[in-house]
């Protein structure tokens, strides 16, 4: 591996055009192959395998005959289209996302702007205090809040004994609160570190021109941290569609959370039937939907940025 600046003499591949030979081929292979292999095995292969599985159906000869897997084309996808509970779960997480993501990011943005403004004392403390919930795994946070919501055990019994936060109408928003509690501080930090990158002179000039802190935030800072806001939005969209741990935990606290409450719960309960082919089709639809949603959002915001 003691290669020096002298490139290897022989041209490597793609000899149709005259191209510059690739120097350091072995080093490149050393750097790329470990990740590349694992990526192929545990990312690309599963995606392909899920698509393949979703195209199979199980056939039996008679009622008790041996089961055989045969190619079924889009049969499973026809099932997905007709599956009422699945689409209800998709609708539920979309509703969840439309409300929870903007609320969470608005809070994160306000906190980040306050941290960046000269209005606060004890910034170090606030930054840490708001970020601590991010250290709590989703499962543990859900268990904790599950206790806090329950009418008998809650320290806020005055509230929880009057309003049943675990009832069918409210439990979705009870879960939204858990997710918000965990992730606000994390999103706040992403936006805040982006605010720190703005040169101080920019808003000092605005301040001397007589702009108030609100005005500076709105007209100077927010436009400059747009990339950070876009990034956190995309992550939040992906996260919302993947909702699983919190509702799965809440099934122990509330009978209102069914086994098809979110798309991922549907995947899980379908695969425990077990009906792997249909579950694979659900997974593929969900992955494509996530990909399309976040990709579209990225493209839309990039266009806006150009204008």
């Amino acid at each position: 591996m003691t290669r020096t600046a002298t490139p290897p003499p022989a041209p490597t591949f793609g000899a149709r055009r005259r191209r510059v030979p690739v120097p350091h081929k072995r080093a490149i292979a050393f750097f790329v192959l470990p990740f590349g292999t694992l990526f192929a095995l545990f990312y690309a292969l599963p995606v392909g395998y899920a698509v393949w599985q979703s195209l199979l159906v199980v056939e039996r000869e008679g009622t008790f005959g041996p089961a055989r897997e045969v190619f079924g084309g889009l049969t499973q996808y026809a099932q997905v289209v007709q599956n009422g509970p699945f689409w209800a779960s998709v609708g539920r997480v979309l509703l969840f996302g439309v409300v929870q993501v903007p609320v969470m990011l608005a809070l994160a943005l306000v906190f980040a702007l306050l941290l960046d403004s000269p209005l606060l004392r004890g910034k170090r403390f606030f930054r840490l205090a708001f970020f601590v919930p991010y250290a709590v795994p989703g499962v543990v946070a859900a268990i904790m809040w599950g206790f806090l919501y329950s009418p008998r055990l809650s320290p806020f019994a005055a509230v929880t004994s009057r309003v049943d936060l675990l009832s069918a109408d409210v439990v979705l928003w009870a879960i939204a609160n858990v997710v918000t509690w965990v992730y606000v501080g994390y999103n706040m930090l992403i936006i805040y570190s982006s605010l720190l990158a703005i040169p101080t002179e920019v808003h000092e000039a605005a301040r001397l021109d007589g702009a108030g802190q609100v005005r500076i935030a709105w007209s100077v800072k927010i436009p400059l941290v747009m990339p950070a806001i876009v990034l956190t939005t995309v992550f939040s969209i992906i996260g919302t569609l993947q909702l699983l741990a919190e509702p799965q935990v809440f099934r122990s606290f509330s009978s209102a959370v069914t086994s098809t409450f979110t798309p991922n719960l549907t995947v899980y309960s379908t695969s425990s039937v077990p009906n792997f082919h249909l579950a694979a089709a659900f997974s593929v639809v969900l992955a494509v939907a996530t990909f399309v949603l976040s990709f579209t959002f990225l493209k839309l915001t990039q266009k806006k940025g150009v204008q």
């Binding site: 080093a27 750097f31 590349g36 990526f39 990158a197 301040r207 990709f295």
Partner: protein
């Protein structure tokens, strides 16, 4: 990219431009907002801490937000002894999954991202685009097909079934590529070559140091992702002996109605399970403060 890791010259608190003063009213309002939300973020954890110190009778009969008789030591030792010390085992599993996985994932991602940034080779852009697509593929969509693949080779229900998939961090490749492009100068690599250093040695002795802030960020992201991972273990593992702590606490929590004594263990266990992450965050604070936003700056 590099802008995000640069800190401002002046400390934030002295930043009142040219003597312009903020009104006391807006100061008070800002402090009030932050104060109220501090309660929102910390009271649940305070409650967990207080609850973990109570015995079963006092848990329901005393003020939930203040201490009664101090039983923390008894509670913790009961938890650690319960069921042959299974909780200790879970914590150990989580540490192994997380620390090992995050470290290796960071190293592999850094090597790949570095190669994509610093070398020209055929298919470089194709590789990068595939990896970028991988960033947008949700990890949970992979859990079920991974289970099916691992069951083909009889590896479900083992440590490797959860550990191996967590070594892949497409986001890490993305981040380290951008960072390496901005922070590792080509001239430096040329100089190292002239000095006779091999490419691999240059990477480990020179480039890794320059990329360090990005590496810490990737490590933290992956650390949290693995520590919090739930779907993959849920779908892969049946044997309690290989559970991570999240799955273990979850399985206890589902049995609380049958075995009421588990409720106390769940609470004390929940408290213990968040300690390692908080310690890691505090230790690496200096780095994540600047590094977390690194992905956001183009």
């Amino acid at each position: 990219m590099s802008a995000a890791t640069r800190t401002r010259p002046a400390p934030a608190s002295t930043r009142t431009a040219g003597g312009v003063r903020e009104s006391p009213l807006s100061r008070a309002a800002a402090m009030l907002v932050m104060g109220v939300f501090t309660l929102y973020f910390l009271v649940p954890i305070w409650w967990l801490l207080v609850s973990a110190t109570k015995d079963r009778g006092q848990f329901t009969s005393t003020n939930p937000l203040w201490f009664a008789d101090m039983n923390l030591v008894e509670n913790v030792s009961a938890l650690l002894r319960y069921d042959g010390g299974i909780f200790v085992r879970w914590m150990g599993n989580s540490v192994a999954y997380t620390a090992g996985g995050a470290f290796l994932a960071t190293l592999l991602a850094a090597m790949c991202g570095y190669a994509l940034a610093k070398y020209r080779f055929l298919g470089r852009e194709a590789v990068f685009n595939v990896v970028l697509g991988g960033v947008l593929v949700p990890a949970t969509a992979l859990a079920l097909p991974l289970f099916l693949i691992f069951s083909q080779v009889n590896l479900t229900n083992t440590f490797w079934a959860v550990f191996l998939p967590s070594l892949v961090s497409p986001f890490g490749v993305y981040l380290t590529r951008i960072f390496a492009a901005a922070s590792v100068p080509d001239e430096l690599l040329e100089a190292a070559r002239l000095d006779g250093s091999s490419e691999v040695r240059t990477f480990f002795t020179v480039s890794v140091r320059l990329m360090f802030p990005a590496l810490v960020t990737v490590f933290l992201f992956q650390f949290v992702a693995i520590w919090n991972n739930f779907f993959l273990p849920l779908i892969m593992l049946r044997d309690e002996a290989v559970f991570p702590v999240t799955l273990g606490l979850y399985s206890w929590n589902t049995q609380v109605n049958q075995i009421p004594e588990l409720r106390g263990y769940v609470l004390v266990g929940a408290l213990l399970s968040i300690v390692p992450l908080i310690v890691t965050f505090l230790l690496l604070q200096r780095f994540w403060r600047n590094g977390l936003g690194a992905g956001a700056v183009k």
